[in-house]
Symmetry: C2
Subunit: 212 residues, 2 copies
Amino acid sequence: MTSASPSPARRSRPGGRTGRIRAQVLDAVRAELAERGFDGLTLDAVAARAGVHRATVYRRWRDVGGLLADVLEATGDDDWQPEDTGSLLGDLSALNHENQAALTEQPSMAAALIAASFRSEEAARGVRRLWEDRYTRCEVIVRRAVERGELPPHTDARRLLVAAVAPLYHHLVLLRTPPDPDLPDQAARTAVLAASAGAFAATEPPPTEGPR
Amino acid sequence: MTSASPSPARRSRPGGRTGRIRAQVLDAVRAELAERGFDGLTLDAVAARAGVHRATVYRRWRDVGGLLADVLEATGDDDWQPEDTGSLLGDLSALNHENQAALTEQPSMAAALIAASFRSEEAARGVRRLWEDRYTRCEVIVRRAVERGELPPHTDARRLLVAAVAPLYHHLVLLRTPPDPDLPDQAARTAVLAASAGAFAATEPPPTEGPR
């Protein structure tokens, strides 16, 4: 949901020379992506900027998709958490403002990664993992709201989060409308109103045993 | 919002030979796109399948983006209208089911066009026009609901429609989750509940004159 991405299946890599080469190459990918966008990203330019042998880059990352997937994976080491503002509306608004900022900054790594996911299967898998991880981390927003009594205990956290976040991505990524400064708050408010009306009530788990 | 697309700025083209060539080429684009996807789409293959000189295709359509933009434009002659089911919830559900079907059919022209919009500026412009036209046509759903008394007169139709539709595209196009048969109805219901709670109340236009 934001530009950074952890990967649950992160491979461990040895440090030392191999680790240093990886760091150099991934820094070069980020810089090239920021300067030239996906269309300007080539393994040759990355190798040149990183000061690493072309053959090494081709062997280890194979193609642009491989580079992007590894950037996504490397970003996964962050400790990003959604902001805790003290209310469901505040938390969802903050999340949407953060997403809008990440998608509209120039250059936007988040937008570049989404675009790349339509071009490379490896990038698509990396972005899918990113979304999954980010949504999982965001579930704490719903748990906190349940604890505060703002939401009923059986609330479908994922559906609520998607309802709050989806209009923003819809506008910025699919419709490609200019960013609307009111949209982050409006979309958050819409989701909260729908939640209050029972839109995300999850089916209660059946009792495991007991007399009928 | 669905796979077909009208274009408000449709150029008129002469009929006869020029029109026939266009029809042959666009049929070939649709067939190639359906069989091979965006990655397999080449001007050479389109020319061969259409039985049209390569030079003609290159001169008139220039690149894959030009072909896609023209497919989008040609599709614009349809008379698609959202289904009239007699209720706001029914209309939004029907729209979402239609969108889900268009995005998940194999092969999906709708999905191919969205993917293409991340690769070609011309395709991106064509897809933007498609969305704009489809959303405008869908505003009748909200007008009908206002007339039935289901919604207050000052309802922001576009925001309501985006709220109903966005979660579906978010899942299928961005998160790439498997299609959930319940999602079309759930997302429609969420938007209706939010609307009932006043989420899409538009600012009333100020009175044009009168004593203060």
